[in-house]
Every structure is written in C-alpha cells, then in structure tokens.
C-alpha cells in the first residue's frame, strides 16, 4: 500500500517472528553440517543420508503416494464441485458439511478407527494411505476449489463450452480447470504437502514413508537424521514457493 513510509510496526513484527522461526531452524542446520570426526563443518551428514539406500526408496515412495492423493483429489473433487455449483442440488449442504467433518476428528482417533475397520485387502496395500490422506486434506482442498468455482461465471462458461461441442470431460479438463488454475494449484500444493509430511496416521497404521523413516535413522546416526529433517523442511517449502510462482494473484482471479 504505502511503500515510501518506514513501516516500524511491520519490521518489528517480522523481526520477532523471524527470530522465533529461524533460531531453531538455523541451530538445527548448524548441527547438520557438523563433522565430529574431522572437526569443523562440512556436508558429510547430507552426503551420508543421500547415499543411504533407503533414502531414494522412501523419497520415491512418499512422492508417488502424495501424487496418487493429488490425483484422487482432482478426479473426485473437481467434477463433483462443478456439478454442485451448476445444479444447486439439494445434497450441497450435506457435502459441504461432510467435507468439513475431518477437521473435527483428531488424527489419532481417526487412525484407531482406520485400524479396526478395513477388510484385509485394503489393510494390506499401501494404497489405503492416499485415500486416507485424501480425507485429511479434504476440508482444505474442498474449500480452495469451492472459492475458485464461486469466483467465476461457471454457468456461462460451461454453456459456451457445451454449445461449442465439447463433452463434459473436455469441458472440465480444457475449460474449467484452466480457468480456476489458481485454486487447482493451491489444492495440488496443499494436498501434496500434507501427504508428503503426514506422520501420525502413517506411523499408527504401521506404514513406512519418508517422514517415519527419520525415526529409524535417528537411532543410528543423529546428525544424519537432522540433515534429513532439514531436507524434509526445505523440500515442501521450495515446492510451495515454486507452485505459487506459477499461480496468478488472488485478486486477478476474482475479477475474471
């Protein structure tokens, strides 16, 4: 807003927040670059972690699980929400409520429920995780897409696409998704980050992913585990920054 004026309260706020946020982060980083054998500093712990066989295995595993979660979210939510917005169906209230319900349930309680409920063929496949992550991310994903769809003249756009000869699938993939790309990107980022970092549910259901692997590493090489932790903090940060760089600002989307 006002750029020329020196913003004392803002600077003060940022300094305090920055102190609280960065002191622990930098302290941990300092630990992660220590080399106790040689003394001084180096990237030994990072190199050690990357050379571990499990490192790549768990990175890939966590990434594809998160990818599947994103796909489920988009495939299920975009058509459903488009339909809800177009039809003003009576189920709208029900679905709105359902989508918020996961916020009410503590993840620990959800994990207990999940452990005692599913038949063997669901329990025995790691593919149960993306569906459970989908549930955990649902309140955020639903709201992000809902805001995007509310901000555009959806009816006009769909009717135009339909009368130009596009079928429903094509209308959604090449008209609606590009128009609400800001919301779609936000949804992808949210869901991906949440799935990538999920710990509680994963560990209580006895699955191993990247975040739970750190627990084991901590028992054999503490500095290596700290290095992995630092990477697991920086990765989602880079990812989200990258995604927001591609997303147009909130205000421009509202005006469309």
């Amino acid at each position: 807003m006002i750029k020329s004026k020196f913003q004392l309260p803002l600077v003060f706020t940022l300094l305090i927040l920055g102190f609280f946020v960065f002191v622990p982060m930098i302290s941990a980083f300092e630990y992660s670059i220590r080399t106790p054998a040689k003394g001084g500093y180096g990237w030994d712990s990072y190199l050690w972690a990357i050379r571990e066989e499990e490192f790549l295995y768990y990175i890939i595993r966590s990434t594809w699980l998160a990818g599947v979660t994103v796909l489920i979210t988009l495939f299920v939510l975009v058509p459903t929400l488009t339909w809800i917005h177009l039809s003003n169906s009576k189920v709208r209230g029900l679905i709105d409520g359902l989508s918020l319900l996961p916020l009410v349930i503590p993840v620990v309680a959800f994990a207990v429920g999940a452990q005692i409920s599913f038949p063997e063929f669901v329990k025995n496949t790691v593919l149960e995780l993306p569906f459970l992550y989908f549930v955990l991310a649902l309140p955020y994903a639903y709201r992000a897409l809902d805001i995007g769809l509310s901000a555009i003249p959806l009816k006009t756009i769909t009717e135009a696409a339909r009368s130009a000869g596009a079928n429903w699938l094509r209308t959604i993939t090449s008209v609606i998704i590009p128009v609400i790309r800001g919301s779609v990107m936000a949804t992808i980022a949210l869901t991906f980050a949440l799935s990538l970092g999920e710990f509680t549910l994963t560990v209580l259901l006895h699955w191993d992913t990247f975040p739970t692997w750190v627990t084991y590493v901590a028992q054999e090489n503490i500095l290596g585990a700290i290095a992995i932790s630092m990477m697991s903090l920086i990765l989602p940060f880079l990812l989200l920054t990258l995604i927001t760089l591609f997303v147009p600002e909130r205000s421009t989307q509202g005006r469309k």
């Binding site: 309680a109 005692i116 989200l240």
Partner: protein
C-alpha cells in the same frame, strides 16, 4: 400444459424418481463412497467398538476406565496444553497477521502465506530436532542465555516437560493463527475506517466500536481451532516426551501399538471417542462462526 401433466404424471412416477435421483445424487456418489468408506465407516466403527467389552458385549466400562487415572491426567494435560498454546499464540498471531496484511506488500504477504503453510505443518521429529538444537541442554540459544546468566536447566526444565512442549507447540500454533486469522483482516474494508473518520471517530473509537467487534468472532473462532490443533497434536509430543508427560494422544498411540497393555482391549477406542467429543466442542463452534462471518467477508 394441464393436459400434459395429467397425461404423463402418474405412470412415470418410477422413472421420475430415477431421473431425480440421477440429477440430485449420482454425480456425488464417488465422493460420497470414498468419504463413506474411508472416513464415516471407521469413525462409526470406532464409536461402536468403544462400547464393547473384551467378550464383545455392550458395556460402559471402557469409558469408566477412561475417566480414571492415568487417563484423567492425560485429558487434563491435553486440554491444558491446547488451551495454553492457543491462548499464548492467539494474540501475537493476530497482531502479526494485522501488520502483515495491512502494511505488507503483496510479495511479502505471499511469502509469509507460503511460509506459514509450511511452518504450521511442521511437527514430529524435525521440529523436535530444531528445538533440541536451540533449547536443548547443548542448544545454541541455551548457551547464549547461559552466557547472559540465565541457566535454563538450573531448575526442572526440559523440552519434554509441559513447559517445554508448550514452547515447541507455539512453533506451529503461531503460523496457524496467522493463516486462519488473516482472511478476517483482509475483509476489514478501508471504507469503514474512512466512514468512521468522516463521522468524527478517532483511531481509538474506530477500533472499540468497529474494528474489534468485527474481528472478535473470527478471533474466537481461530482460538478454538488452535485449541483443537494443540489438543490433538501427536507427532511432536511423541518425539519430545519419553513417557514422562501423560497426554491423551500418546496414551492412545501406546495402546494402539501394544506398547502399553490394558486389561480392556477397547480402552483406546473409548479414549478416541472422548477426544472426538472434546475436539468437536471446539471445531463445530469454529465452523459455525466462520460460516456466519463469511457472509460479510466477501
């Protein structure tokens, strides 16, 4: 018109029902199926099983045990850490959100939004490491404080204690407050403050009569959400404590893993149900307030 209704109305009832079903429900079925099977069903089963004894007969005894020690202390501690961490984070978080949203440029706001998103989701081992490195016995900040004559570890302080955990929880509670409270600040329109000034109000009048009353519901709502987040946090507590601090999520985790044995097999489920009830007491009012204030926040 009338003719048509008379002609077509009666015999097509069945089909009309089918078309109305297709129109009103069918496109929602994938979502309803997934949510039903992967969410509603486990929760329903959790509630059902919590009322079963070891012999699968109906009983309240799981809940009776859940109200006794050490589970009672677990609930008290969990509620306390939820309340305290929310109370300490809410006000500074709200102020920070205010300055960032009203004084910050768009680049700064977007950076903070991304950072808050990441930080609000930190937890577990990585967060524990960060605080061990800063405030642990060999931590950097501990050394600095000691240099200035304040020995943190002179008393009973440890990161696994209630106080230690409280400090660590603030690390994700503060960013969470910034995230959930910012929309309320954004929706405070500049016209309102200008209108108030035109009518003769000074800054103080504006805040007392307009700003604070408008923001207050959102503030309470954010506080409630923070409470729920602190109350049910598992990963961080699990990484920092070594069984010295009874907290309900840890007790449930212990029972689920079989690390802790209880004579009642379904005790953990009863604890889970009570957790859901407590969390619902905070999250449902939060959602209700959010919905109400969303009306003028557009």
């Amino acid at each position: 018109m009338t003719f048509k209704v008379i002609e077509e109305g009666a015999p097509k009832r069945g089909r009309a029902f089918l078309t109305s079903f297709i129109k009103n429900f069918l496109p929602a079925t994938p979502l309803l199926l997934i949510v039903g099977f992967f969410f509603l069903f486990p929760i329903a089963r959790l509630i059902y099983v919590s009322f079963l004894s070891n012999e699968n007969t109906f009983t309240f005894s799981n809940f009776v045990t859940a109200a006794q020690e050490p589970y009672r202390t677990g609930f008290v501690n969990s509620i306390k850490i939820g309340l305290f961490s929310a109370a300490i984070a809410a006000f500074p978080g709200a102020i920070a959100a205010y300055f960032i949203e009203t004084r910050g440029g768009s680049k700064l706001r977007r950076t903070i939004a991304v950072m808050s998103g990441v930080l609000a989701n930190t937890g577990g081992i990585p967060l524990a490491f960060m605080f061990y490195a800063a405030l642990g016995i060999q931590g950097q900040l501990t050394k600095v404080l000691k240099f200035f004559g304040w020995d943190l570890y002179a008393g009973t302080f440890s990161l696994g204690s209630f106080l230690g955990l409280l400090i660590v929880y603030l690390y994700f509670q503060l960013p969470l407050m910034v995230i959930v409270f910012s929309p309320a600040i954004v929706s405070l329109r500049r016209e309102w403050s200008e209108a108030a000034r035109n009518l003769g109000a000074n800054q103080f009048n504006y805040w007392i009569r307009i700003g604070i009353p408008l923001l207050f519901p959102s503030f309470i709502a954010s506080f409630l959400l923070l409470f729920a987040s602190g109350f049910s946090a598992y990963a961080t507590a699990n990484a920092l404590t070594v069984g010295n601090l009874p907290l309900t999520p840890l007790q449930i985790g212990g029972l689920l893993d079989g690390n802790v044995s209880a004579s009642q097999l379904n005790l953990g489920k009863a604890l889970g149900v009570v957790m859901i009830l407590i969390s619902a007491c905070a999250v449902i009012p939060y959602l209700a307030i959010q919905r109400r204030s969303a009306r003028w926040q557009k």
